[in-house]
């Protein structure tokens, strides 16, 4: 899946294959926590603690462990947004520093800065491909593709 396709996805959809895997892990833990198959359970541990409460505690510790592992990898990119074009404020030139010399595979500037900047569009963002690869999609995803 190329970068353009990722951009077309709805905002709630994980933006890389790595993130999809992590999303699945968290969804599984979430589903396991709603143990509707065991809803009428009344078994107790030492008479006072329901078994399903202990089960839920274990699930939460698994969640804590998963978040700990995920926190070591998670590195979101800050989206650089272009200034809004208003009548009072003339359109600014694109920032040169956002497209660095270290990015030989960069796309032509016309593609990075979309044409509809004049349509009062507030989110014309130009993020270099390398930044997306490194921080949103991840190098591993490129290999996967």
């Amino acid at each position: 899946m190329n970068n353009k396709t990722w951009e077309l996805l709805p905002f709630w959809f994980p933006q890389s294959k790595n993130n999809i895997i992590w999303t699945l892990i968290f969804l599984v833990l979430f589903t396991l926590s709603i143990d509707f198959w065991n809803w009428d359970s009344n078994s107790r541990i030492s008479e006072w603690l329901p078994f399903w409460v202990l089960y839920l505690v274990v699930i939460q510790f698994a969640l804590a462990f998963s978040i700990w592992k995920f926190s070591k990898l998670f590195d979101p990119v800050i989206i650089e947004r272009k200034e809004k074009v208003t009548e009072e404020e003339p359109e600014k030139e694109p920032k040169e520093e956002s497209i660095t010399e270290e990015e030989p595979e960069k796309e032509p500037e016309e593609e990075l800065i979309s044409d509809d900047s004049n349509n009062n569009r507030i989110t014309n963002i130009y993020i270099s491909d390398s930044v997306i690869n490194r921080s949103i999609i991840g190098d591993k995803d490129d290999k996967d593709e």
């Binding site: 905002f11 709603i34 603690l49 329901p50 399903w52 409460v53 989206i79």
Partner: protein, 487 residues
Amino acid sequence: MSELITIAIILALYLCISIAIGFYGRSNEDTAEDYFVASRKINPWVLFCTLAATNFSAFFFLGFAGASYRAGWGFYGIMAMGTSLVGLSILLLGIPIYRLGKEKGYMTPPALIAGETKSKYLGWIYGAVLVIFTLPYLATQPMGAGILLETLSGGEIPYFTGAFLLTCVMITYLIMGGMKSSAMTDVFQGILMFAILMVFVVGFFIHEDIGGFSEAGQSLWDNKPEKFVREGNFTWQIIFSYTILWPITVPMFPQLFSRFYIAEDDKAIRTAAWLYPTVVPVLFLFPVIIGVYGNIVEFDHNLTKTESDNILPLVLTEYAPLWAGAIVCVGAIAAFMSTADSQILAMSSIITKDGLPAITEIKEKHEKQIGRILIIILAIIGLVLAYDPPDTIFSIVSQAFTGLAVLFPTTVAVLYWKRVRANSCIISILTGEIIVAWSYWSAKTGNPIPEWFTQGFHISTPVILITILVLWISTEIEERLSDNTSS
């Protein structure tokens, strides 16, 4: 009278320590950034403590126990997993919010939303929703303090006097030191409330009248076995709804959102993110245990729904000596104050930095002074709302939380979605709030939201789903319209 003196001495000692820490925490720097976001220098452990203490409030101390008294262990299912998932929200939202705040100087949630979408109108709507729905939640804090002191003192400290006294102390240290004082007192108050709660629960079970964990469990099983099961108390749809609601709504609390700005680095947020679900599973057991096992205590009469919020102080007066009860009371008051001070400071900063500049020009050197005046005004508003509470703490916060959850899709979209548009966010927020208002109005007039709309889930679930869909679809429509216009 001597009982009152005992309570007064213990309470005074605690309040003096809080003020002293607040005084110690104040900074010599005289900038709005230092006052509102502690110069962005809070380390990981203090950040975690302040996030936890800020989130665990009167609702945690009294609301949990009251609801568990009514609904049994099932209430643990309502609260625990969802709150653990807040750790994931801290990670996913906290890091980009922290980075944007540091890079662009944002100090409040609406500033970030308005700044990133370049829409002051979206910023105003976002800020208005934050303030409107935080006010009823703020009111539950003096409510809790008033209930606790009145019950513990056998009515000698009237409900409103207790609420007023604690609000005054909170204002004192907030005015002195702002965010840094708030964070420092949170550490003290957080450790204090958890330690006291744990000791109290263990003390309750080893009391000779209770006879230990097993005997208490058997006694409850013999008399009220329904308290052990979820069937009959909560459907899986309701627990599903709350498990979704907490991680969505908690980072939208302005007092939590603002704390993402104060971290000294990314690592602080990463640490807080995994510590949060590590602590919650055990910590949440304690107020639930008090509530559930309050059912084996015999009272003069059956407690009403609102009275059951008093279950913790009622159990205290029944089983603990007064000095011990007063110490537990201090732990609960710590929970109220650590939340209320953060709420007031966050709302004060929103109004100072985002609200007032829309009406009049405010010089930077005056921001701190204005923030202090607003702290007093907001605290008074909280007290006024708490004067005659309309419902249980749980019912009040459920409405407030759903109203704040509406902001989540917009926040995620602003942080992660390149295609986000301000107008779509505004439509999404307004749609969500209209449904929340409809649900509130329906409850008030005795006509519950129809079953076909909720499908058995809590109202928050369809509200969140609809706001996500509206944001997504309206963005698509807006994009196509502007594409057509440009072509």
